[in-house]
């Protein structure tokens, strides 16, 4: 059980590190453009 927990923690840490590494070369902000409401416009 302890081994499993340790493995899970290690796995989680690896995932977090991997995500942080992946994020490292990505911009920290992004601008998304939307319609500003739930309804779509006229064509």
């Amino acid at each position: 059980m302890k081994l499993k927990t340790a493995l899970m923690l290690t796995s989680g840490a690896v995932m977090a590190a991997s995500m942080a590494h992946a994020d490292a070369h990505m911009a920290n902000s992004m601008t998304l453009v939307s319609w500003g409401g739930p309804t779509r416009p006229a064509r």
Binding site: A27, V33, S34, G36, G37, R40, R43
Partner: protein
Amino acid sequence: MNAYSAPYQAMHEGLEVIWDESSAEAVARLRAMNEAGNITWDLVDVVAADAMRLCDEGLAMEIDHDEVLAPAPDGTPASEDFGDLIVSDCFIPQIVYSTTFGYRTDVEAWGGNTPDDICDVFDLENFPGQRSLERRPIGNMEWALMCDGVDQADVYDVLETEEGIARAFAVLDTIADSTVWWTAGADTPQLLADGEVVLGSTYNGRLFSLIEEQDQPVAMMWDAQVFDLDGWIIPEGLPEDRLARVLDFVRFATDTQRLADQARWISYGPGRASSAPLVGQHAELGIDMAPHMPTDPANAQRTFLFNYEWWADYRDDMDARFQAWLSQ
């Protein structure tokens, strides 16, 4: 936003997401940004027709859909999962919405019958009363020809001829005196609620709101609903770090689960076939959303997807003819 950016931000601590509500001006704004050499947008929600224009003008990035987008959970490539909805090399489909009809359920003159065929719109004998149609040719011309006996597959070929245009207008002539012509999506729901019309076309999301949120005596008629598409484009010319971020986000935001999740807030169908079985209940109303989806198999027995290329070629001419016909 609830389905896409909030969960993505939760996975990426410190990421700032700025929403700019300018989609209606997307084409003009991106042209200006391109001229100025300063692209400030990272991802833009547009209708399919705008995506095609932006792609043709080199203002949107062409993508390999199978490389950029996630496969379905069963491994089906994105290009197959989205299928025909990928109408441009730059377009990343999100949702399908439709222009369809709502009708009042309390019309005594109909003798207990309800319209279930697009041609009932043109049948004043069995379904008398005022109706509302959009003050544009797109959609109306296709419906009119179908109700003049033209096979759905042949509609655009017929509409390309003078005889075909005349046939469509002749069908519209039969109801012109009983028709209110709308210009805004809110018009038909209001006219139906006020009892000013007995049936009318509008966007399906508006009718969902009228029926389920406002509890009006109105029902949907889905026959021959006209699909339209909404989705993302990535502006051409983003720097490497911003492009990496937006590619990561768009892969997440358009996966099977996320597109199913957006249907919890509005009755627009997910762009992926694999999302349909995952559509659940409305986040606030607690009602099943699948029966309200234009893409639900029961509602999508006969549908139209606009022939965007045809309309791009003939739009100006048809608009002029339609306005001339209206003013007769």
